[in-house]
C-alpha cells in the first residue's frame, strides 16, 4: 500500500511536468494516442512472457515516433488516430492469442495502482528521473519552439527535432505511468492538471509547479477514494481531472470579468 502511494506520487510529478507541454503544444490527442499504443506493447510482452515495462516502452516509442514521422506528410490528427488504432488493433490481436483475455485488458486499460509490487519501484523511479531531467534540459528551447515555432527555427531550435524529443518524453512518461493509471486514463492526468494550472497563473514556471501540485492532489485523492469505496482509481482520476479543469476555467472567467472593466460606449 505504501508502494502504491510512492509510485503514484512519482507518476503524478511526471504527468504534471510533461502535461504542461502537452497542453502548451495543443497535443491532447497525441497524449491520448501514445499510451494507448503502449497497450499493444504490454499485451505483446504478456504474450511473449517478457517484462511488461519493456513491451510498454518499445511500443510507446514506436507509436510516438511513428506519429512524429508520419505526421510530417499527412494530416496530423488523422495520422495520430490511425497510429493509435493500429496499435490498439495489434493489442487486440496479442490479447486474443493469449488465454486470459478480459481481466488483463481491464487492468492494462484502466490501471491497477494497488497492484504495484515493490520491485517495480526501481525502474519506475529511473524512468521518472530521465523524464524530469529531459524536461529540465529542454525547458527553454521547447518553450520557445512551442509558442513561436518560426522564431525558434530562426534561432536554431529546429521544430522537428523538438517535436521528436517531446514525443519521446511523452512515450517514456507513458511507459512508467500506464501500470498505475492505465493507458486510457493517464492522459487525463496529463491534461487536466496543467489546464487547471494555466488558468491560475500567468507565469510559466509557476504554472509548471502548480501543474505538478494539482496532479499530486488528484492522484492522492483518487487513491484514497478508491481505497474507501473499492471503485477503480481511474474513475476518480478522470472525474477529479475534469473537476480541476472546470474549476480552473471558472476561476479564470470570474477573474477576467472582475479585472477588465467593461468597454466604454463613448
Amino acid at each position: 500500500m505504501v508502494t502504491a502511494w510512492e509510485v503514484a506520487s512519482i507518476v503524478a510529478v511526471v504527468a504534471g511536468l510533461v502535461g504542461f507541454f502537452v497542453v502548451l503544444r495543443g497535443s491532447a490527442f497525441v497524449a491520448h494516442a501514445v499510451p494507448n499504443g503502449s497497450f499493444a506493447g504490454a499485451a505483446g510482452a504478456f504474450l511473449l512472457g517478457v517484462n511488461t515495462l519493456l513491451g510498454l516502452g518499445a511500443f510507446s516509442l514506436l507509436g510516438a515516433l511513428g506519429i512524429g514521422v508520419l505526421g510530417r506528410r499527412g494530416r496530423h490528427d488523422v495520422v495520430t488516430a490511425l497510429a493509435l488504432v493500429m496499435m490498439l488493433g495489434l493489442g487486440a490481436l496479442f490479447l486474443n492469442l493469449t488465454v486470459e483475455y478480459s481481466s488483463e485488458v481491464y487492468s492494462l486499460l484502466f490501471g491497477e495502482v494497488l497492484g504495484i509490487s515493490s520491485n517495480e519501484l526501481a525502474p519506475t523511479v529511473a524512468l521518472a528521473l530521465v523524464c524530469v531531467a529531459a524536461i529540465a534540459l529542454l525547458y527553454r528551447p521547447l518553450l520557445l519552439s512551442s509558442v513561436l515555432p518560426e522564431v525558434g527555427e530562426a534561432r536554431g531550435v529546429r521544430s522537428f527535432r523538438m517535436e521528436l524529443c517531446f514525443l519521446t518524453v511523452v512515450a517514456l512518461a507513458s511507459t512508467m505511468t500506464v501500470p498505475v493509471v492505465g493507458t486510457l486514463l493517464i492522459f487525463s492526468l496529463m491534461i487536466g492538471a496543467p489546464a487547471a494550472a494555466r488558468s491560475l497563473t500567468d507565469r510559466p514556471l509557476v504554472a509548471l509547479g502548480l501543474s505538478v501540485a494539482i496532479a499530486l492532489i488528484t492522484v492522492w485523492s483518487a487513491i484514497a477514494a478508491s481505497y474507501i469505496t473499492n471503485y477503480p482509481v481511474g474513475f476518480f482520476v478522470g472525474s477529479i481531472s475534469a473537476g480541476a479543469y472546470a474549476l480552473g476555467r471558472g476561476w479564470a472567467a470570474w477573474h477576467r470579468r472582475a479585472a477588465t472593466p467593461l468597454p466604454s460606449l463613448t
Binding site: H32, A81, L84, A92, S103, L185, I191, S239
Partner: protein, 297 residues
C-alpha cells in the same frame, strides 16, 4: 474465365463454409452498411480536422456500452445514447479554437472513460459477465443476430440523410466557417447536426469493430480517399468502397484465421480491418512520395 476456374483460384483464400454461414451473411450486410455510413461522415470529419472528436466519441461509447450491459440492454443502444450525450456536452462546451476544443474533448473523454472504468467494474462484479470488456472494446461482428440489420440500416439512413440534406452548407462551413457565416449559414447549428451524424456513425462503427477501434473505420478510408481525389463527392464514394473492401476482407480473413495457429481461436476481425485500413492509408501516400522524390532530384 469460367466460374469454376475463379472458384478454384479463390478456394485457398476462402475457407469452406464461409459463404454458407448465416452469421457471415449478417456480418457482410452490417459491415457494408456501416462502412458506407462511416466513410461518408468520415470525409467531413477529416476535412474539419475533428478526428479527435470522433475518437473521443468512440471511446465514450465504451461508457454507454457498459451502462447498457449493466441495464441488461443491447450495447448498440448504449452506444447511441452515449454518443448523443457526449456530442451534446461537446457542443455545450462549444469552443471554437482547435486547441481549446481538443483540450475540452480530452477532458470530457477522460471523465467519461473514468466512468466506463467504474461501470465495467460493476458489470464484472455484479453480473459476473466476463468478456464484456472485450466485446465492447473490440467488437464481435460474427455474433450479431439478424434483427440487428434493420436497426443498423435505420440508424445508417438517418446519418446519411443528415449529411445529404446539409451537404452543401456543411461542405462550405467545413472548409471555412467564416465564409459560411458570411453567407448567412448557421454555422453552430450546422456543427450540431454534424455531431449528431457523427455520433450515429461512430455508434455503428463501434458495434462492428469495437469502440476504441471505431475511429479506423471513420477516418481511415476517408483520409485515404481524400489523398487520392480532391473532389468531396468522389471522396465519399471512394471512402465507402475502401471501407467495404476492408470490412469484407477483414471478415474473410478472420473467418479463415480459425484454421491458423493457435487453432480454434481465430484472430479478431477488428485487427484485420484496422490493419487493412492502415496499410491502405500508407499506400495512398506512395504516389505523392514518388512525385516528391522525382522532382527534388
Amino acid at each position: 474465365m469460367s466460374a469454376g476456374a475463379i472458384g478454384a483460384l479463390l478456394a485457398p483464400l476462402i475457407e469452406p463454409g464461409f459463404f454458407a454461414a448465416e452469421d457471415v451473411h449478417i456480418a457482410i450486410a452490417v459491415g457494408a452498411i456501416v462502412a458506407i455510413v462511416s466513410g461518408t461522415v468520415g470525409v467531413f470529419t477529416v476535412i474539419r480536422s475533428q478526428s479527435f472528436a470522433g475518437e473521443a466519441l468512440g471511446d465514450l461509447n465504451t461508457t454507454g456500452g457498459s451502462a447498457a450491459l449493466l441495464a441488461g440492454v443491447g450495447p448498440l443502444w448504449g452506444f447511441v445514447a452515449a454518443g448523443l450525450v457526449a456530442a451534446s456536452v461537446m457542443e455545450l462546451i462549444g469552443i471554437q479554437r482547435p486547441r481549446g476544443r481538443d483540450l475540452a474533448t480530452g477532458i470530457v473523454l477522460g471523465a467519461g472513460l473514468g466512468l466506463a472504468a467504474l461501470l465495467l467494474y460493476l458489470d464484472t462484479t455484479l453480473h459476473n459477465t466476463t468478456g464484456a470488456t472485450a466485446t465492447i472494446l473490440f467488437g464481435s461482428v460474427f455474433t450479431f443476430s439478424s434483427t440487428l440489420i434493420p436497426l443498423v440500416a435505420l440508424l445508417g439512413v438517418a446519418a446519411l440523410t443528415i449529411v445529404a440534406a446539409l451537404y452543401r452548407p456543411l461542405l462550405l462551413s467545413s472548409v471555412s466557417a467564416e465564409m459560411a457565416a458570411a453567407r448567412g449559414i448557421q454555422v453552430r447549428l450546422l456543427g450540431s447536426a454534424y455531431l449528431l451524424a457523427l455520433a450515429l456513425a461512430v455508434a455503428l462503427a463501434s458495434i462492428t469493430i469495437g469502440t476504441i477501434l471505431s475511429t479506423a473505420l471513420l477516418v481511415g478510408p476517408a483520409a485515404t480517399a481524400l489523398r487520392l481525389t480532391k473532389r468531396p463527392g468522389v471522396a465519399i464514394l471512394l471512402a465507402g468502397a475502401i471501407g467495404i473492401a476492408a470490412m469484407w476482407l477483414g471478415e474473410l480473413l478472420a473467418y479463415d484465421s480459425f484454421y491458423w495457429p493457435p487453432a480454434g481461436t481465430g484472430w479478431p476481425v477488428s485487427f484485420f480491418v484496422v490493419t487493412l485500413i492502415f496499410i491502405g492509408y500508407l499506400l495512398s501516400g506512395a504516389p505523392e512520395l514518388a512525385r516528391r522524390r522525382s522532382r527534388g532530384a
